[in-house]
């Protein structure tokens, strides 16, 4: 039996993580072993804990360690606005910006007939229920500007039409962006979404 079998298995497992390849996984594992007390043991303990406690919020689909996440229990977040995102990474991106103070709804993907993902496979029925139950005044569709993202946004808009104010994120010139470097589609979208100054 190889004396490095467990370490090799750990490297192989780490290499499956997004953003890590075999080489970076080897570096990370070596670093963890060298910092056993400081990193490896606490990390292993935390992973074991999270493996048991991590779950999806029953209301919005966010990932946390409680049945209902902090966003959904916080009264400060009850602004009447729900921001609909594709997955938890998008929710975290919105939170990083710190600009949105309402609650979220994580769909868990986008509609895709080719991948056999239909409305019932996403959290769309739950969103419709929340709009009815939570005194929602505005639903903000913060979905990716891809064909699947926009198809899903269109589908949700159709389901909620006339029941609540519906908005979507603006598309156009990024902050610090130069027009010369933008593609034609982005420039056209920015022009369509122009506003008075």
């Amino acid at each position: 039996m190889s004396s490095t079998r467990d370490i090799d298995a750990l490297i192989e497992m780490m290499a499956k993580l997004p953003g890590l390849g075999p080489r970076s996984a080897r570096r990370a594992v070596l670093h963890l072993i060298r910092k056993r007390a400081l990193l490896l043991t606490p990390l292993a303990d935390l992973m074991q804990t999270v493996a048991v406690t991590a779950r999806e919020c029953r209301r919005c689909g966010n990932v946390g360690t409680a049945d209902i996440c902090d966003f959904c229990t916080s009264e400060k977040r009850a602004t009447g606005e729900i921001c609909v995102v594709e997955d938890v990474a998008d929710l975290w991106a919105m939170e990083r910006a710190g600009a949105f103070k309402g609650r979220y709804h994580v769909l868990g993907g986008t509609l895709s007939a080719l991948d056999a993902v239909g409305p019932e496979d996403l959290r769309i029925p739950q969103l419709l229920d929340r709009v009815m139950d939570e005194n929602v005044s505005e639903v903000i569709l913060a979905l990716n500007a891809t064909v699947d993202g926009q198809t899903t946004a269109h589908y949700i808009a159709d389901q909620l039409e006339g029941r609540v104010r519906l908005t979507s994120l603006a598309q156009g010139v990024p902050i610090g962006g130069e027009l010369d470097y933008l593609d034609d589609g982005t420039i056209s979208a920015a022009l369509r979404a122009r506003k008075d100054v």
Binding site: L111, S112, A113, V147, D148, D183
Partner: protein, 387 residues
């Protein structure tokens, strides 16, 4: 300094070097039959001659890969790798585009999707389209006017892409939404909101495609009308397989919704820009291109490529790179000489192939000549005089 047009005796119409588009260097590594080939060129046209199978068209294909898409053979990245090594391939081009020098690299490893780097930075294929506009004419297109409509649509979209690199995004978005809708049809899904959502995407992208095509056709038509050329003008129109193409985005959305029942019976979408065909008429004779002789059909295609290049030169300030594979086939000596004169007058760096140097004798020192040979299982390239 090399000045395009100087060798033609028609400097008046030539594009100045500061406003031209040309490769200064091309390096092929493990690409098709080429193990490693380095070509140093200038703004003049480039002639590649040699026996069949020597690897001439592979060099043209390499140049075509410096523009967005799958190149002039529409092959997968894996098919372009040299066998038996199968190490993947890499191309590098020194490109002068509107007075600015760029280093363009594109490669594929282990059959993976090809990567692009411009001036050392990772870039998208759309970004490639902004600096390197490339048009081509290959023998497979000789039957363009008589074969199925999808070949003509590709030809048309290549023209549109030369004016608007963003056209590829619209076409991809349209195709994706249509394939999603076709799957709904095949799975007999009955959710009208899902159909409507996809039809909105198809209408948005499809309308962009259609307006791009109409605009490109108008520009090429205008360039044909204004040119004094030895090649016959074609009258071009867009036609639908059935009915008419809806002119506005809401009209296209409504047409798709109205066509749902019919589409379900057919198993696919029957309305939209994917059902557009390009029709050409030999203007002087008022004869459909498909009914013209082989030589006339080829002359019409050459005429369109040159008109496209002229329109592009007017619009962006430089003619595109032209790839003319076996261009002398089906052209008589008079038309061949006229083609060379027009390419030179345009100031375009045209990459042309043929089996023998004598086919390009009229070019003499107006072009750089290279002989391509097969040397022990790998292509070899040597510079030769054309005169």
């Amino acid at each position: 300094m090399v000045v395009p047009g100087l060798w033609c005796g028609v400097r008046l119409h030539a594009t100045p070097v500061s406003m031209s588009l040309y490769l200064t260097e091309l390096v092929l590594s493990h690409f098709r039959s080429h193990k490693r080939v380095q070509l140093g060129v200038d703004a003049r046209p480039v002639v590649l001659f040699g026996a069949n199978g020597a690897g001439k068209t592979n060099i043209l294909e390499a140049v075509s890969m410096l523009s967005p898409g799958r190149g002039l053979r529409r092959s997968s990245a894996e098919e372009m790798t040299r066998r038996p090594e199968a190490l993947g391939w890499k191309l590098r081009g020194g490109l002068v585009s509107l007075g600015q020098g760029h280093e363009v690299e594109t490669w594929s490893e282990n059959g993976a999707a090809r990567q692009v780097r411009i001036d050392g930075k990772t870039a998208s294929q759309v970004a490639l389209g902004r600096i390197a506009r490339v048009l081509w004419l290959v023998p497979a297109m000789d039957r363009l006017w008589i074969e199925a409509a999808d070949g003509r649509r590709r030809f048309l979209d290549r023209m549109v892409l030369s004016f608007d690199p963003g056209h590829a995004e619209a076409a991809l978005a349209y195709d994706k939404a249509m394939r999603e809708r076709n799957r709904l049809i095949r799975d007999e899904v009955r959710d009208p909101a899902w159909y409507a959502a996809l039809e909105a995407q198809m209408a948005e992208a499809g309308h962009r495609m259609h307006t791009g095509r109409v605009r490109a056709l108008a520009l090429v038509q205008e360039a044909q009308d204004q040119a004094e050329t030895a090649f016959p003008a074609a009258r071009l129109t867009l036609v639908q397989t059935e009915g008419a193409m809806p002119e506005t985005e809401p009209d296209l959305r409504d047409a798709l919704a109205d066509s749902r029942a019919r589409d379900m019976a057919a198993g696919r979408a029957l309305v939209g820009p994917h059902r557009t065909d390009l029709q050409g008429v030999y203007a002087a004779k008022d004869v459909h291109a498909k009914d013209c002789s082989t030589g006339e059909q080829k002359a019409l295609l050459v005429s369109l490529i040159l008109a496209n290049a002229r329109a592009l030169a007017d619009r962006i300030g430089a003619p595109p790179l032209l790839l003319l594979d076996e261009v002398s086939a089906h052209l008589d000596m008079q038309r061949r000489a006229a083609l060379y004169d027009e390419v030179c007058a345009l100031g375009a760096q045209a990459w042309m192939t043929g089996t023998g140097a004598e086919l390009f004798g009229e070019l003499r020192d107006r072009a750089r000549g290279f002989e391509v040979t097969d040397s022990g299982g790998a292509s070899a390239v040597m510079e030769r005089d054309l005169g």
